[in-house]
Symmetry: C2
Subunit: 236 residues, 2 copies
DNA sequence: GCCAATATCTCAACATATGAGAAAGCAGAT
DNA sequence: ATCTGCTTTCTCATATGTTGAGATATTGGC
């Protein structure tokens, strides 16, 4: 009944919903009354109801970053199995990337560790997260350098980085061409909330030069996985 | 137990939560198991849990526009009683303002009606809603004129309107100086979601020239009420 | 003041939740 | 390997709550 009322959005009477869902009217009323007294629903007059304060409090507390991480885990394992590469998920905190999930064959050959914090400007996940930051925050990050070169390909000039982030935002993915470790390259895509903000990003890493899947195929697989995660976490 | 787990965000074991909330351990485990089997919670490994798919589905369906309208009603009655004026709430739909709530003494002397749709560019509520639209949508609106003059003070030039909306966004409130009916003036403020978007706006209307409360006092009361509505609907 | 729809009430049959304690599982430390 | 402190699962009799049908009361629209 809870879901019936919520889905209805306060448009129908309890009796109407009861009929629609083949529930005895008396039962529906009793259930709704209970939900109201427990605070999960709230009456809006005229025998209509909407989400109650308790449900709203829960809504406000559901941490969708946590959600993404946990929902993503099994999907990322699958992606790792399909690509045969190392798959990671990272979030942005305090101007750094935090790696939250790491899975796939040869995961040990990569120096990153779960819960490790890393500079954002030189990794695929980091660049995706930066690219989708609110502009003010991104500008502040770009102004906050310096961006130390870790390899020959690391982007160190703020203007270059700004340009790269624009490209990333436009393209919908980021590539890391050995910018943090010359032997490693990766492709990363964002996980997007319905409002467009990006709570996390996922990536597939490979040894540079080594063949493996083509970038296009990896990208497609990444996008598919990202879409699945988004659907599980934010779908209406 | 549901809220305990949600609030905890998947950090603690069930036993730990049980201790913290003075619930028998066995009971807590049984309850969590039930919630999991019903889909309200989901295990994340290591005996931790987060919001489950059913809860997410419900939360995704909670319509906060509807919520605002309903939560606002009693608060607006109070505001109307305090200011002795007509108080209204409006939402933006299809480039028009829809009046959702109208309350207060002399409500009949105002030509607006609940569920009435009105042009947005010439009312306080409309200007607030326009001012907080995503830029692309606002630009489209401004380009979509013409803006017909209903009174001497109606803003009809798109550039003037654009400027006015900027001012409104900056100031956090809009004034309507007889722009729709020469006899009526009003002050309106936005109801803001945590992410800054504006699902609705509220206003206090008065007969022009007539004294009543000073604008500053009205504004303060409006802001207070808006904050209360926001707190009830979106508080964490 | 009427009517149709909606909401409440009452009841015994039924199903489910409760808490205490015992027992099993698990992981890190010695 | 074994201990140890923890979390989790299980068992039980008892208490508590839920169920649906139908009767009754209350609404709101005309």
């Amino acid at each position: 009944m809870l879901e019936a009322v919520i889905e209805d959005g306060g448009a129908s009477s309890v009796s109407a919903l009861a009929r629609k869902h083949d529930v005895p009217v008396a039962t529906a009323h009793r259930q709704v009354a209970t939900l109201v007294s427990e605070g999960f629903l709230a009456p809006t007059g005229g025998g209509r109801h909407i989400a109650g304060p308790r449900l709203r409090a829960i809504l406000a507390r559901v941490d969708d970053k946590q959600l993404v991480t946990n929902v993503a885990a099994p999907l990322l394992h699958r992606l790792a199995a399909r690509t045969g590469a190392v798959v990671q998920l990272g979030t942005f905190e305090n101007d750094m990337v935090t790696y939250r999930i790491k899975t796939g064959e040869g995961a040990n050959s990569l120096f990153t560790k779960v819960d490790m914090q890393l500079e954002a400007y030189c990794s695929g996940i980091g660049k995706v997260l930066l690219a989708h930051l609110p502009q003010a925050q991104r500008d502040a990050y770009l102004a906050g350098g310096p961006f130390v070169a870790l390899t020959e390909t690391t982007i160190t000039d703020p203007a270059d980085l700004a340009h790269e982030l624009e490209q990333v935002a436009k393209a919908g993915y980021a590539e890391d061409r050995g910018e943090i470790d010359p032997a490693i390259s990766c492709v990363a895509v964002p996980i997007r909330r319905p409002d467009g903000s990006v709570p996390a990003a996922i990536s597939v890493s490979r040894l540079r030069g080594k063949g493996g899947m083509k970038t296009d195929a990896v990208l497609a697989a990444l996008h598919t996985t990202a879409a699945e995660i988004e659907k599980s976490c934010f779908s209406s």
